[in-house]
C-alpha cells in the first residue's frame, strides 16, 4: 500500500490531521485571540475542498482498506457538498457565538469531527465503518447542542437527543448483528451478494431494526420526536449545523445500506418505508402549521422534506435515488439559508425564534427579508426557485414506477406546506413591525454569503440543468 493507492481517502486523512492542528492552535493561540480558530477552520475547509477536488475526484468506484471504504463519484460530490455546507454554517455561526460569549475553539473542533463522521458515513462500505461514522457524527453533534452550557433548554435538548440517539444506535447495531449473522460478512458488497432472497423472515427482522434506525436518524415519523426539541433547544447556529450537513450523511447511509448492501431485500424495505414516508409527509406538514416558534416550524418542515426524500427511495430506481440526492442537496442549500436568516435576525437576549419576531422584517432589514422570502418560496416548491425542481424530480420518479397515490399525497401535502411558508412571508412583508425588535446583524461578509445563498436558490431554479445532470450522473 503506497500513498498513491489511498489517494482517494485523502479527505478523511486530511481532516484528522486538520482536527489535531485546530485543537493545538486553539490550545496555544486561541485563548489569546478569540475568533482566530474560526478563521483557521474556514481555511482548513477551503483547503480540504481543494484537496478533495485534486485527489478524490475518482472516475470509477475505488474500494480501499479491505473493502471497508469506498470512494466513487457520488462520495466525491457528497464530500464537496459537506465541505461547502459546513463552511457556510460556520460562517453564519460566528456572530451568533460572539454575541453570546461562547465563541470557543472547541466549537470548531466539534464541527470538524462531525464532518469527519459525515465523510466516514459517505464512504462507508462495511457495517463497521457505518457504525463508526454514525457514532462519530452523533457524539460530536450531541456536544454541540449542549455547547451553550449556561442554557438549561440546550442541556435538556442535548439530553433528549443523546438518549433517543443512543437507542437508535442500539437498534442499528442490533439490526446489523442480525444481518451479519445471516450473511457472515460485514462488507456491504459481500452482503449484497449473499442476500438476495426477499421475504426471508430473518432478513426482515434485521431490516426492521435498520429501517427504524435510519428513520430515526432522518427524523421520519414516528421516530421524529427528538427533532423538534433538539432544533428548538439548541443554540440557533447549532440548529443550522444539525439541520444541514448531517442530512447528506444520512442520505449516504440510506443509499449505501439499503440500496446497495440490502438491495436483495428492496421489496421488504420499500414496504416498510412507504407508510413511514406518507406519515412523515402528513404529520410534518400538518404539525408545522400550528407552530409559533420558527425553529420548531422549520423542524417540522424538515420532517416533511424527509418524507419527500424517502419517496425517492421508495421509487426504487436509479432515477428515484438521484431524485432523492437532488432533493437532499437542495434541501441543505435552502435550510442553510433559512436558518442563516434566523441567526442573523437574532441578537443576545432576542433569539428571533418566535414567528411574530419576523413581523415587519421588511422595514427593519429589506435584504434579509428578501432573502428569506426567496428561501420560503423555494422551500414551498414554487418556481422559479430550485425547490420546485426537487419536488418535480421526486414526482417524476414516482410516476416512472407507477405510484399514483404517492404522487397525489405528495402534491397535496406540498400545498399544505405552502401555507406555513407563506405565513412567514406574510409576517415579514404585510404586517407592521413591533417596536421592540433590535437591529439585525449587519456584518458585511455574512450578509454577502447569505445573499449568495439566496441567489443560488434562484439561479439553480432558472438554470437547473447542471445540478440535475450531476445528480443523475453519479448514481447508476
Amino acid at each position: 500500500m503506497n500513498l498513491h493507492s489511498i489517494a482517494a481517502a485523502i479527505p478523511e486523512i486530511y481532516l484528522i490531521a486538520a482536527i489535531c492542528l485546530v485543537l493545538l492552535f486553539e490550545a496555544f493561540v486561541g485563548a489569546r485571540r478569540p475568533g482566530a480558530t474560526g478563521t483557521l477552520t474556514l481555511l482548513v475547509l477551503v483547503i480540504g475542498a481543494a484537496l478533495t477536488v485534486v485527489f478524490a475526484d475518482v472516475t470509477h468506484r475505488v474500494v480501499l482498506f479491505d473493502g471497508s471504504y469506498v470512494a466513487d463519484p457520488l462520495a466525491f460530490v457528497l464530500k464537496l457538498a459537506g465541505f461547502l455546507s459546513v463552511a457556510v454554517a460556520l460562517l453564519y455561526s460566528r456572530s451568533y457565538l460572539q454575541g453570546r460569549d461562547i465563541l470557543k475553539g472547541e466549537y470548531y473542533v466539534l464541527a470538524l469531527s462531525a464532518l469527519l463522521g459525515i465523510f466516514v458515513l459517505i464512504s462507508a462500505n462495511s457495517l463497521l465503518t457505518i457504525y463508526l461514522g454514525v457514532e462519530l457524527l452523533a457524539l460530536s453533534v450531541y456536544a454541540m447542542v449542549a455547547f451553550d452550557r449556561e442554557s438549561g433548554v440546550a442541556a435538556e435538548a442535548a439530553m433528549k437527543y443523546f438518549v433517543l440517539g443512543a437507542i437508535a444506535s442500539g437498534m442499528l447495531l442490533y439490526g446489523m448483528s442480525i444481518i451479519y449473522g445471516l450473511t457472515g460478512t460485514l462488507n456491504l458488497d459481500g452482503i449484497a451478494v449473499a442476500l438476495n432472497a426477499p421475504n426471508n423472515l430473518g432478513v426482515i427482522l434485521g431490516l426492521t431494526f435498520i429501517v427504524v434506525a435510519v428513520s430515526f436518524k432522518f427524523g421520519a415519523v414516528p421516530f421524529h420526536m427528538w427533532l423538534p426539541d433538539a432544533y428548538e433547544g439548541a443554540p440557533t447556529c447549532v440548529t443550522l449545523f444539525i439541520g444541514t450537513a448531517p442530512k447528506i450523511a444520512y442520505f449516504a447511509l440510506a443509499l449505501r445500506l439499503l440500496t446497495h448492501g440490502l438491495a436483495g431485500a428492496t421489496v421488504d424495505w420499500t414496504r416498510m418505508l412507504t407508510p413511514i414516508a406518507v406519515l412523515t409527509l402528513v404529520v410534518g406538514n400538518l404539525v408545522a402549521i400550528v407552530q409559533s416558534n420558527i425553529k420548531r416550524m422549520l423542524a417540522y418542515s424538515t420532517i416533511s422534506h424527509v418524507g419527500f426524500i424517502l419517496l425517492g427511495f421508495i421509487a426504487g430506481t436509479a432515477s428515484g435515488y438521484s431524485a432523492a440526492l437532488y432533493y437532499t442537496l437542495v434541501y441543505v442549500l435552502m435550510t442553510l439559508g433559512s436558518f442563516g436568516v434566523v441567526v442573523l435576525a437574532s441578537r443576545k437576549g432576542f433569539e428571533a425564534d418566535r414567528l411574530e419576531d419576523y413581523k415587519g422584517l421588511y422595514r427593519r432589514d429589506p435584504l434579509l427579508a428578501l432573502a428569506m422570502a426567496m428561501l420560503m418560496f423555494s422551500t414551498a416548491g414554487v418556481p422559479p426557485f430550485v425547490g420546485f425542481w426537487a419536488k418535480l424530480r421526486i414526482i417524476q420518479a414516482l410516476w416512472e414506477t407507477s405510484h399514483p397515490w404517492l404522487v397525489i399525497i405528495a402534491v397535496t401535502m406540498s400545498v399544505v406546506g405552502a401555507f406555513y411558508y407563506l405565513r412567514v412571508i406574510k409576517l415579514m412583508y404585510f404586517d407592521e413591525a413591533s417596536a421592540s425588535a433590535p437591529e439585525t446583524v449587519r456584518s458585511f461578509g455574512v450578509r454577502f454569503a447569505l445573499g449568495l445563498n439566496a441567489a443560488a436558490v434562484l439561479v439553480l431554479g432558472v438554470l437547473p440543468a447542471p445540478l440535475l445532470d450531476l445528480c443523475s450522473r453519479v448514481i447508476h
Binding site: 418556481p383 422559479p384 414526482i395 410516476w399 407563506l422 406574510k426 440543468a465 440535475l468
Partner: protein, 504 residues
C-alpha cells in the same frame, strides 16, 4: 429579430422590473418613467408580432428553441399561434393603463409596485408563449408570486386573508396539473405540448388528466363552484391588481382549456362536455343573480367577471354538441371563436370597469354603491366612459362585448335550443346588474356632499379610459382582423378536439 421577438417580449419587462427594484424607492421618479417606457416598448414589440403574423397557418410562429434541461428533454421553446398571439397583445396593452393608473395613487413602496407589475407582465407573456409544458408551468406558477405580493402589500383591509386564499387555491389546482404533466412526460419522453397533443391515451388516463386540468383551469377561470377566491381577491386587491387579475390572469384558465384540455384529452372532453356546459350555465345564470345584489362595486364587477368567463368555458366546450347536432364539423369552431373573442373583450371591459372603480375610489375611498349617487352631475366625462363600459359589459352591439356573446349564443343555438335559451338569460342579467349599477352610482340627484365635491377626470385618467374605449369600440365594430388571425388555429384545434386519441 423575429427569432428572439418572443424572448424580448418576456424578458424586457422582467429586466425593467428588476432595474426599477434596484433603483429603489429613492429614485422612484426615474423608476416610474422607466416602467412606462418599458411597458410602451413591450407594446411596441407587439406591432411586428401582429404585422408579420401569418394568418394562413395553424403552426407555431416566431419559434425559438434552446436546450434547457437536456437530460429531461425540456426546452426553452417559444412560439405563438392564433390563440396565444392575441392574448399576448392583450397582456402588453393592459399593463400600460396599470402603470399609468398607479402614477400618483401608489405612495407606499412604489418601486416594488411597478417592479411587481412589470415582472408579472413578462411572466404572463411567458405563459402564453411557451410551447414546452414545463416552461409553461414554470411561468404559470412563478406568476403567483408577484400577484401574491401585490394583493398582500397594496390591498385593502382583509388583504392577507384574500391573498393567501388566492395563492393556495391556485397552487392546489396547479400542482395537480403538474402531476398530470409529469405523467405525460414519462409516457411521451418529452415536455413539448405538441408531443402531449399527439400522445395516445386510454379513456381512463384521459379522464384523470382531464380532471387534473379541470381543477387547475377551473380555479383560474374561475368556474362555479371554485370561484370563491375571486371576489375576495378582487375586493382587496389594489386597482392595478384587479385589472391584471380580471383582464389577464382569468384568461389563463380559458387558454389552458383550449391549449391543454381539448387537444390533449379530446375523448374525455367529449364524454364530460355536459359537465363543463352545466357548470358554465350555472356560472352565467346563478352568478349573474349574485352580481345583482352586491353592495360593493368591485364585488359586483368580480361576479360579473365570473359570469362572463362562464361564456368562455361554454363556448369552448360547445364543439362536441354542435358536431353531434349538425352532424358536420362545419361551423363547429364557432363556440371557440366566441370564447376567444369573449376573452379579449372581457379583458378590455373588465379592466376598464375596474379602472373606473379605481377612479372613484381614489377620490372617495369607498367602493360601496350606497355612498354614491348622481356622480354624472360632477363628473360628466367620467360618467360617459363608465356608461359606455357598462353597456359594453351587457353586450351592446357595436362594442366588443357583443361579438363574443353573440358568437357563443349563436353556437349554443346550433348545439341545442335549451343551451341557447339559458345562455341568453345573461343578456337580461348582464343588463340588470350593469345598468342598475350605473343608475345608482351615476344617475339621479347628487347623493351626498362628498359626491358634490368630486372633480372630473384628469388628463392621465382620460388617456387611459379613452384608449380602452377606443379599443372596445374598434373590436366591436370591426372584429374581422381578430377573427382572421384566430381562424386557422381554431380550425386546427377543432380537428384535434373531435379526433380520438384512444389507442387501438
Amino acid at each position: 429579430m423575429h427569432d428572439h421577438l418572443l424572448s424580448l417580449l418576456i424578458w424586457l419587462p422582467i429586466a425593467a422590473g428588476v432595474v426599477v427594484l434596484l433603483l429603489g424607492e429613492r429614485n422612484i421618479a426615474a423608476g416610474r418613467w422607466l416602467s412606462l417606457i418599458a411597458s410602451l416598448a413591450t407594446l411596441a414589440l407587439c406591432v411586428p408580432l401582429w404585422r408579420d403574423f401569418n394568418t394562413h397557418t395553424a403552426a407555431y410562429q416566431f419559434v425559438q428553441k434552446a436546450a434547457w434541461i437536456a437530460r429531461f428533454h425540456a426546452y426553452y421553446a417559444l412560439g405563438v399561434d392564433g390563440i396565444s398571439m392575441p392574448l399576448i397583445v392583450l397582456t402588453a396593452f393592459m399593463t400600460i393603463p396599470v402603470v399609468i393608473a398607479g402614477w400618483r395613487v401608489i405612495s407606499a413602496r412604489p418601486a416594488q409596485y411597478y417592479a411587481s407589475f412589470l415582472i408579472m407582465e413578462g411572466l404572463m407573456i411567458g405563459v402564453f408563449a411557451a410551447t414546452d409544458a414545463l416552461l409553461f408551468y414554470f411561468f404559470w406558477e412563478a406568476m403567483l408570486i408577484p400577484m401574491f405580493l401585490i394583493i398582500g402589500i397594496w390591498g385593502g383591509p382583509r388583504r392577507v386573508y384574500a391573498t393567501i386564499k388566492f395563492f393556495l387555491y391556485t397552487f392546489l389546482g396547479s400542482v395537480l396539473m403538474l402531476a398530470a404533466l409529469i405523467y405525460m412526460y414519462v409516457k411521451a419522453g418529452s415536455y413539448s405540448i405538441a408531443a402531449f397533443q399527439a400522445l395516445p391515451l386510454t379513456l381512463a388516463e384521459q379522464r384523470w388528466i382531464f380532471a387534473a386540468f379541470l381543477i387547475a383551469f377551473a380555479v383560474k377561470v374561475p368556474m362555479w363552484p371554485v370561484h370563491t377566491w375571486l371576489p375576495d381577491a378582487h375586493v382587496e386587491a389594489p386597482t392595478g391588481g384587479s385589472v391584471i387579475l380580471a383582464a389577464i390572469m382569468l384568461k389563463m384558465g380559458g387558454y389552458g382549456f383550449l391549449r391543454f384540455s381539448l387537444p390533449i384529452t379530446p375523448d374525455a372532453c367529449r364524454e364530460l362536455d355536459l359537465l363543463i356546459i352545466t357548470l358554465s350555465l350555472i356560472a352565467v345564470i346563478y352568478i349573474g343573480f349574485v352580481a345583482i345584489v352586491q353592495p360593493d362595486m368591485k364585488k359586483l364587477i368580480a361576479y360579473s367577471s365570473i359570469a362572463h368567463m362562464g361564456f368562455v368555458t361554454l363556448g369552448a366546450f360547445l364543439v362536441y354538441a354542435i358536431v353531434k347536432a349538425t352532424a358536420s364539423t362545419q361551423g363547429a369552431g364557432m363556440g371557440i371563436d366566441g370564447a376567444m373573442v369573449q376573452m379579449i373583450s372581457h379583458g378590455l371591459i373588465s379592466g376598464a370597469l375596474f379602472l373606473c372603480v379605481g377612479v372613484l375610489y381614489d377620490r372617495m375611498h369607498t367602493r360601496q354603491i350606497a355612498d354614491y349617487g348622481g356622480v354624472i352631475n360632477t363628473m360628466p366625462v367620467f360618467a360617459g366612459f363608465m356608461v359606455l363600459f357598462a353597456l359594453a359589459n351587457t353586450g351592446l352591439p357595436g362594442t366588443s362585448g357583443f361579438v363574443g356573446e353573440f358568437l357563443v349564443i349563436l353556437a349554443s343555438f346550433k348545439a341545442s335550443f335549451w343551451y341557447a335559451a339559458l345562455a341568453a338569460v345573461t343578456l337580461i342579467l348582464g343588463a340588470s346588474y350593469s345598468l342598475w349599477l350605473v343608475k345608482r352610482v351615476l344617475f339621479g340627484p347628487v347623493g351626498n356632499e362628498r359626491v358634490a365635491k368630486l372633480n372630473d377626470l384628469d388628463g392621465r385618467e382620460f388617456l387611459i379610459l379613452g384608449a380602452l374605449a377606443a379599443v372596445v369600440l374598434l373590436v366591436g365594430i370591426w372584429p374581422a382582423p381578430l377573427l382572421k388571425v384566430m381562424e386557422p388555429s381554431i380550425q386546427h384545434l377543432v380537428s384535434q378536439a373531435i379526433a380520438t386519441k384512444i389507442p387501438v
